[in-house]
């Protein structure tokens, strides 16, 4: 196509992006210019194909979800806790295989059903209080319905042993060899039920000796198949934002 100073406007006209004055000027020109009439037809054929990509309408309820989320977050505040781990239809069968791979950055993902996460966050607060009662750790280790998980990484590295007393809805973490998280970062424990999003079980930080022993409350009624630890921004994340450093499956305690 030969160069013609109006052709840019012909494309803009087809895209519908000329302002009123430009549009009037171009349409006046169009009446006298066969080249531009031909160009407009060709560009119009392209935009009709682009129309095929236009979605019908935003999903119903999106407006309400946005407004509701805004009502919880005043301007200037940090984002609310609810974020969505996009559900993966095949996660049930693949979880064990691709667990590590599935921990993708989901900072942008928001969640509709935030109740489970809110419960996890509340349990985190409860946990802080519970930590004062170290004695209760001992109780967690014992009982008829205790499951354990040993979280491992490849090669030499930190070891994390978990004790989950299902009757008490409580997990005790016993970690060793964990390097101190970088400034502004923390470790976060996740429980993963088959086919579901990871659920935050709380954050923790090892001492200078690389050890951490603490109890975290578990939302009741959970049936996690897997557990994992990832490094997250201080305060924890609603959903994992980094690849886990440790992962393992829950087993019945011997």
């Amino acid at each position: 196509m030969t160069e013609h100073r109006w052709l840019d406007d012909a494309a803009a006209w087809a895209l519908g992006t000329l302002d009123e004055a430009e549009r009037a000027a171009f349409e006046a020109h169009l009446a006298d210019c066969e080249l531009c009439r031909s160009a407009v037809q060709e560009y119009g054929a392209v935009t009709r194909l682009l129309d095929r990509m236009k979605p019908a309408a935003p999903p119903p309820g999106l407006r309400e979800r946005i407004v509701a989320e805004a009502a919880r977050t005043r301007p200037g505040a940090s984002p609310s806790a609810g974020r969505r781990w996009v559900s993966l239809a095949m996660a049930a069968t693949l979880a064990a295989i691709v667990l590590g791979s599935l921990w993708v950055r989901e900072r942008q993902a928001r969640r509709r059903g935030e109740d489970a996460l809110a419960a996890a966050d509340r349990s985190l607060l409860d946990t802080r209080a519970a930590l004062a009662e170290r004695d209760s750790l001992l109780a967690t280790f014992a009982g008829p319905d205790v499951r354990t998980a040993t979280l491992v990484t490849t090669g030499a590295g930190p070891a994390v042993r978990l004790f989950w007393n299902r009757s008490m809805s409580r997990i005790v973490i016993a970690a060793s060899g964990l390097p101190t998280a970088p400034a502004g970062r923390t470790y976060q424990l996740w429980g993963i039920a088959q086919g579901s999003n990871p659920v935050s079980l709380g954050t923790f930080d090892p001492g200078t000796d690389g050890r951490a022993t603490l109890a975290l409350n578990v939302p009741p009624g959970m049936d996690f198949a897997l557990a994992a630890v990832s490094e997250e921004p201080a305060g924890g994340s609603p959903q994992p934002t980094t690849t886990p450093i440790l992962a393992g499956a829950w087993r019945a305690s011997e």
Partner: protein, 200 residues
């Protein structure tokens, strides 16, 4: 489509100032005005309704939280929102494409549920597959454009921004933006020629 730029901008700016004061009803009104365009841009970028929805939510939340920082001298509210929606959609594409690669490599041949064919209500059912196939080809062509050309088409055609709004938002000369749009359309025309019919 007429651009009633000044009146529209004034309405948006009022809404933004109400949002800055914490009025979430103003956010709802802003959504009523531009939610469709934001969703169209996000959908054009991600090709997936659920991902587009997440991106649009993120964009409106970003505008909500940043309402007090809006500076009319740097562009219109719509341009601000639409460019943010596109950025958040790109964020999602990066994570989604990685996730899909992993899933598809882990479960080759069983990717049911991951593909999202495009369709619209009221469409004749027997036309839907053909239309979806066309949409995929169009999408791939759009993705094959140089990034700066693709950006202009997405912001202009799907986001409904004028060339001057895009130029302001990208801080690029108006002529450059227009030329990019034309180059994009000419490439698309060449690539998509087989799909074009006399009747359109």
């Amino acid at each position: 489509m007429p651009h009633l730029v000044q009146e529209s901008d004034r309405t948006d700016e009022v809404l933004i100032s109400r949002m800055a004061a914490g009025d979430e009803r103003a956010l709802g009104a802003l959504y009523d005005r531009h939610g469709g365009a934001a969703f169209a841009v996000a959908h054009a970028v991600t090709g997936d309704a659920a991902d587009a929805e997440e991106a649009v939510t993120d964009a409106f939340m970003q505008v909500w939280r940043g309402a007090s920082t809006f500076d009319a001298a740097r562009g219109t509210v719509q341009a601000w929102l639409i460019t943010i929606a596109r950025s958040r959609a790109l964020d999602r594409v990066r994570t989604v494409s990685r996730r899909r690669r992993l899933l598809e490599s882990a479960a080759a041949g069983d990717a049911e549920g991951l593909a999202t064919p495009l369709s619209s209500p009221g469409e004749q059912p027997d036309r839907a597959p053909e239309r979806a196939e066309t949409a995929v080809l169009v999408r791939r062509s759009l993705e094959a454009l140089p990034a700066e050309q693709r950006r202009v088409v997405e912001l202009a055609y799907f986001g409904g921004l004028s060339h001057s709004e895009i130029a302001a938002a990208l801080e690029e000369p108006l002529g450059t933006v227009k030329t990019r749009a034309r180059s994009a359309l000419e490439k698309l025309r060449a690539w998509l020629q087989p799909l074009m019919t006399e009747t359109g």
